[in-house]
Symmetry: C2
């Protein structure tokens, strides 16, 4: 175990090539410029003063650059985590208060501790419990909620503070008469600028263009007096390093939110890191080290009064396209933000909130994924319903509940499916050595006096009684005249002690009726379990075959009928 | 669908044979005689006046006889359900109060509704989530708790009312000086009588013998004045039919207990019903109909002021051995209890509680299963820990929590295991057509330029990244020189949409590198998924083979290399 596994900066720092520098500087500056409007906008989405979004892209970025395994990942505030912060902290403190701000910082600390610990204990695999349909349904719903949450800034009116889509829409319709048309115009122009810039070239920093336009419009036309809401005074200077203070009650109340952010944030981050890594291949993305790096970044974030961060889709793509080769790009981005904090904050006084809303709205509406839903409807109906239920649960029950429902449902469906695995009766396809499912291959013929059956899936406590029932039905239907049962076990990937017990009973019962039970194609781990449980002795070593053909062609069992099956005997020992 | 499927009495009632009558009468009377002490004892265990244990074996037995599919199952109060009643109702009402009694009756109503609904909606399979190790650990712990809960009656002293074993034992040690030696002597003699009778012949009704002895001892020696606690006045006559009254708050509070009893009770009942059915074979045990029958029995129980019942081990065994052929035996048992209620209750006035305690203790200590734990330690360490954790959780956290921990743990372990299934690189065993795991078969040889890999288990969202990582590592280790990857898919029992998506990516990536991806041995349901997702087109129809050998021997892909693979083509359509 090398130190550089834990501090990947040692890898690229030692071997840094001059040729990388140009790309790193150019990407670092591009992303830094993007971060100014995005950082402030996402902080607003999270319910925090915009400046805290800038704090979040100082120290945390540098820490990730040192500890992270991805060389292009751009860490910082992202829409989903901001929304989770707003809804989670919003449930225990009023948005806009000092208490809310303090709790958001404590949340960053907690996410840091959780992610760091998950990485340390190598629990990164937990993120695999989030299936594609669940993530897709959750993301679409969250994007809808986020987009609508910005409607009030875009229209310039107070709307019902709610995460329920219908309440927001209703409230907007009711108060439509109060719309501030200057605000709406600024916001729509901002949206147009960002989308237009993207269409022309990805190199144009649309959001920064929109911000510049917004500030100029407010200053030059004097829109503030027309009721256009602006950001106002943005404190200048670097954040002071303060240890966050908290009570255990606060920590307890924040645990569900912190866990959700830890996993959802990690999932988003690892997905984009892996996607970008595929284009490079000069390094590996190591999930557990990524957790450690993100955890450390969030811990550092709590020190500089930031709220939770993670690796984001859009900025990482820009970072990569602008030529980032190492974490140096992120360090340069962070330095640009530091300079901004020191010298440029007064510029943002006149920035309209509607422009920040437009930045958020453009970012998230692209996340609503109708194509995936349509695709699943065609190819996998059960996964479509998983997506739909998660989507609806997120909209109706809430953000964290939605993802909880999705995960629980996908595990339940998985268990339910494994409770009734596919069972096939096999017959020989004439003219070949192949034995296939007689229900699918109409010319396949069962061997007389023999039931050949394939069980596809692991055999464990939850599908045991299904296995028994299926097997008994097949056996009953062939009595009298049944002489042997061949269980083709190549599809049985695992067998637990409960199943071993029942299999033992089944074999004993059949043997008592004079029916032989043979096995073919047992895989290694299952052979091990058979050996430990004494099933080789019960069944007879000579009744294990490598494939169905050998089993079917084997002579009827007699005490020394073993010679025919030497290879299988050898197999049982391997 | 015939009416007799839903009312099985029509089956045996119509075809009732005269020769069955003798067995039914003899078994019915034997079980009826057992029910008198057991019913009273288990009611005491449940925290109810003994008479309610007798009420529980009137109408419910008759209802089960009409609706149940087992012809030997003896329904009534059992130890586990009685304990669950005591702990569940005890958490919201004081044992011994009217409120407690009322809630126990409401509980019977709720269990009835839940079991009936589970049966109606064919959800009986849920009981399969209880694995053998979890049931074994839970049962042993519950038996220990039940046995110790009777210690106070056996010693004739007040002990701490607790479900924590160590508190009860500590309390007994502290107050040992207060032991009533007459009570203890009666109890120990009762235990001796029951065990002795069982040893001599199972036909001797040991508990009834103990009851008779107890009553005689109290009456003749005047033990009541020596402080021996007796049952006291037992109301005579049949229970009045009353609809239980309840509030929604009470129902809500009882839901966890009702769910646990519904499942645990059903599990005990179905297990014993299936075990007995194996000796008869003139009928089938239908799990969902059993739920309907037990549900109806519990609903009827609520009407006659009973508490939850289910099919029990010991009485069913006696019923079967005494010759029961149909549900008529249970009806006769119930009639005997009705006669007892009408005429014999005064006899039980002097019955010592220590005797009832001895009946319970003998019944439950037999349930403590150390053998199973020892067996699992040897053959399946992970299942051993499942048993141990459930045992300890039941003792330390409580009855319902224990089984909850067990079920959650066994599902978690199942998921965890399926997240990293067995993957094998295959090589050819010289002189055969067999391809086997090169790690186990030392003489198996990999084909040069070919990676042949077998993935054992379903491929779904949770093990996708594991699959990817394994495959990529194997591929990287063989570059340069790798020309084709053969995925032996006979062990892949299912594939979901997330996995399809990743498989698509993997194939595209390999093809871009000039590496062919071939598949062998796809099972039918997986072929269906491939077809729906367009993977046959992506991979090329001719790259699917029936087995590894054909795939390995196939010529390098060319546009019309299909003739070699006609059977496989046919397969893809089947």
């Amino acid at each position: 175990m090398q130190l550089s596994n834990y501090v990947p900066v040692l890898n690229w720092g030692k071997n840094y090539k001059k040729s990388w520098l140009k790309g790193d500087i150019s990407a670092g500056l591009t992303v830094g410029v993007m971060l100014i409007p995005q950082g402030m906008a996402y902080a607003m989405l999270a319910g925090l003063p915009p400046i805290h979004g800038l704090y979040a892209v100082t120290l945390p970025l540098m820490i990730y650059a040192i500890l992270g395994t991805s060389r292009q990942l751009a860490v910082g505030p992202v829409a989903m985590v901001s929304l989770l912060t707003a809804s989670g902290v919003g449930a225990i403190a009023e948005i806009g208060t000092e208490a809310f701000l303090g709790l958001a910082i404590v949340l960053s600390l907690m996410v840091g501790v959780i992610q760091f610990a998950l990485g340390l204990f190598r629990l990164g695999f937990l993120v695999n419990l989030l299936s594609h349909p669940v993530v897709s349904g959750f993301t679409s719903a969250a994007a809808l909620i986020i987009g609508l949450s910005q409607l009030k800034h875009l229209l310039g009116i107070d709307l019902a503070r709610s995460h329920h889509v219908h309440e927001i829409v209703l409230s907007a319709v009711e108060r439509f008469g109060e719309v501030n048309w200057y605000t709406l115009a600024i916001g729509l122009l901002g949206i147009g600028l960002i989308i237009g810039a993207k269409k022309i070239s990805k190199a144009i920093p649309g959001p920064l263009l929109a911000v510049t336009f917004g500030i100029l419009a407010v200053v030059m036309i004097g829109l503030e007096s027309q009721g256009v809401k602006i950001v106002g005074t943005v404190p200048d200077g670097l954040p002071s390093l303060v240890l966050p203070t908290f009570t255990w009650e606060q920590v307890q109340a924040l645990i569900p939110t912190a866990l959700t952010i830890s996993l959802v944030g990690f999932m988003e981050s690892i997905a984009v890191a892996k996607a970008v890594q595929k284009r490079h291949r000069d390094y590996e993305v190591v999930p557990n080290q990524e957790l450690i790096a993100l955890g450390a970044a969030n811990l550092a974030g709590a020190l500089v009064q930031a709220y939770p961060v993670t690796g984001g889709f859009s900025r990482t793509a820009v970072n990569d396209q602008a030529g980032a080769k190492t974490g140096l790009a992120s360090i340069i981005s962070a330095l640009l933000i530091v300079l901004t904090l020191l010298f440029l904050t007064p510029l943002f006084y006149s920035l309209p909130k509607a422009i920040l809303a437009s930045v958020i709205m453009v970012a998230v509406f692209g996340l609503i994924d109708i194509k995936e839903a349509r695709h699943l409807w065609k190819v996998d109906r059960s996964d479509f319903w998983m997506l739909a239920v998660t989507f609806i649960a997120t909209l109706s029950l809430g953000i964290e509940q939605g993802i909880g429902v999705g995960v629980a449902l996908s595990i339940a469906v998985h268990i339910y499916r494994s409770m009734q695995p596919h069972v096939a009766v096999l017959g020989k396809i004439p003219g070949t050595d192949q034995f296939r499912n007689v229900d699918r291959f109409t010319d396949a013929l069962e061997t007389s006096g023999t039931l050949t059956v394939r069980f596809d899936g692991q055999l464990y406590f939850a599908n045991l009684s299904y296995f028994q029932r299926q097997l008994n039905e097949l056996v009953e239907a062939r009595i009298p005249g049944l002489e042997r049962i061949i269980i083709n076990a190549e599809g049985i990937s695992y067998i637990d002690s409960s199943a071993m017990h029942e299999l033992h009973n089944f074999i004993t019962n059949q043997q008592a009726k004079g029916i032989d039970v043979l096995f073919s194609g047992l895989i290694g781990p299952v052979r091990d379990a058979f050996r430990k449980n004494g099933l080789f002795t019960l069944v007879g070593q000579h009744n294990f075959y490598l494939n169905v053909k050998d089993a079917v062609e084997a002579p009827q069992t007699d005490a020394d009928g073993r010679s025919a099956n030497e290879l299988a005997l050898q197999t049982n020992l391997a």
